[in-house]
Point group: C2
Chain length 398, copies 2
Amino acid sequence: MNTKLLDGIKILDLTRVLAGPYCTMVLKNLGAEVIKIERPGIGDDSRGFGPYVNGESIYFISINRGKKSIAVDLKSAEGKHVFFDLIKQVDVVTENFKPGTMEKLGLGYEKIRTVNPRIIYAAMSGFGHSGPYSARPAYDMIVQAMGGIMSITGQPDGPPTRVGTSVGDITAGLFGAIGILSALHKRKETGQGQKIDVAMLDGQVSILENATARYAATGEIPTPLGSRHPSITPFEAFKTKDDWIILAVGNDKLWKAFCKAVNKEEWLDEHDFATNDKRNLSHYRLKPLLDQLFCQRTTKEWMSLLTEAHVPASPINTMADLFADPQVKARNMLVDVEQPGVGSIKVAGNPIKISSIPPEKELPEEPAPSIGEHTEEILKNYLNFGEKEIDSYLKKIK
Amino acid sequence: MNTKLLDGIKILDLTRVLAGPYCTMVLKNLGAEVIKIERPGIGDDSRGFGPYVNGESIYFISINRGKKSIAVDLKSAEGKHVFFDLIKQVDVVTENFKPGTMEKLGLGYEKIRTVNPRIIYAAMSGFGHSGPYSARPAYDMIVQAMGGIMSITGQPDGPPTRVGTSVGDITAGLFGAIGILSALHKRKETGQGQKIDVAMLDGQVSILENATARYAATGEIPTPLGSRHPSITPFEAFKTKDDWIILAVGNDKLWKAFCKAVNKEEWLDEHDFATNDKRNLSHYRLKPLLDQLFCQRTTKEWMSLLTEAHVPASPINTMADLFADPQVKARNMLVDVEQPGVGSIKVAGNPIKISSIPPEKELPEEPAPSIGEHTEEILKNYLNFGEKEIDSYLKKIK
């Protein structure tokens, strides 16, 4: 029973860079077989994104571990032949081209489903396969700006601030994975596949939570609040003697625990601070008092004091702090993996912990592939190519 | 064939506030039945979060649409009885308590699985069910700070900046949904359930992408860059005559298209701007030239010019802009729904577009429930309670 949850699921993966490869990374980590189609000699664009170690993109490696790579020129007759032969044998096909690209190549969903009506076709694109912006080019930053998240991230009256990670790509990848798994579930009953169309912009709209609720309910336009929570106080960053600390006093019970822990029991008698609503209205009074308090000790000192009192608090961890954090280590969330030509390198672990899977099986054992590394293997095992046919194929894609 | 992908899947949902309810919202949108267990008279904490319309929390409504609510006092003998009777009949149970809470209530996974070995148990918590921080209280802001994303979000040398949406909760909810669906897939083969343990902190670590790759490869600590991309130029926000614009010149081909579109073909002859790497090194020269350029026209004027030239660009949409955006409308991503006591209110649509599901079926038809709205229905239909038993149950939870 020690087999992975998605063992046996086969994915033909035409995706490049981030949204699509992130989706298939998550599914590969859970046991799916991912066959990555790459352009001969060029491959996934992200192979050209730094940082590099010995000429290998660590960015590419971190997202494509355990996937197989077959080099296919999708514009050639041979390439299309290989593509459709593979289509017959897989459960899922993924792509994140600009909408219309697959049709131009003669590989659109309508054609694919006639070859394999059971297939799940998952497209991830900037704006989706419908609507007036559908054909526009998109990057994560574009959908962050268009999708509203930049309008609520940053300092009040400060310049525009991008979320530091590509949240537009990543959420699209996660919604794509959820769509694929749901369609696989349905297929067991119906025997039929589906087309799934996930737009990065749609994903951004669907993660705005209280900003959407606030605007829908009140018509007031939410703005950036720095580190502050819009309706909870104190719930923000404070400067300490040596750095910053995040304090998250989420309710009145925690306020009591906080005041006791920091030896400010007199604040418990203040009418203006008695409830969260009152503290929120009195933020202008409370903030300077807290600033004065926190600058007296180091972040480490405050953390030990507040942790003991069970008051939610955190340092603002840099990547160096994160790599050294005992919880991150205990949860196996930054893992040393071996990559040919690179050696040992740390990649993010698998955040989906499953009772039947031991920690050492949470990531694929195999490294990220070189371009076309598994071309021969796949031609032989999937398509029954003989040696001559393989030689001829390899010559043509050179 | 017009039935939803997860029709027939039953989820007993003990989650509150955001991470868990977001997970079951996504699964409900795809057709699962979600039975929400709420504390009699109090209910999900987020019922107490603003904004309100006629006393109803729009925040709660936006995340709990279509779920059924049964009022259960999990500390009472009756409540535990109802809980375990429901456990026998569902596919999935979800909770986002602090680790250990379910065991204290006598409802831990080890007990649950003896009652229903097929059940998928999904826990979403701040730090997960193992490791030294496991029992610590967490909020989204705490895991944003601890998980590294705040260290790469914000202005260079600026104060700490929270991502404006609760990305810690939401990614945990999405990873939880992926875990649940994968475990359901496996169950068809093995007949056995699983425990899934998703930590908000783990989710944050796993979405850092190039920050992790950069630190792992080079040892350099990534820092906030405002709106700028670390390795692509020009790829950031510029002030226009009336507002801001995001420009995303992702490659050299787009650079040519951009220079032509803005009538600056002389920049194409500049050695320092010839490739992305050179532009990146010459950012200090290029930035002032672009500032000077963009301040000459309005955002709308630039958008029309750049869109026509297929150069990726975007205004920084506020929530008001987003609600009016034609693409968002065409994709059905902000939808008017009816809620008793509230009337018509806009909520986020479903970003997983499926070929067999028409737009009007992408969200549940039913509104968000009042506390215990479906108590009688569930006691009758699931547990075969008679009228007397129902009366007695309802009296006890008053």
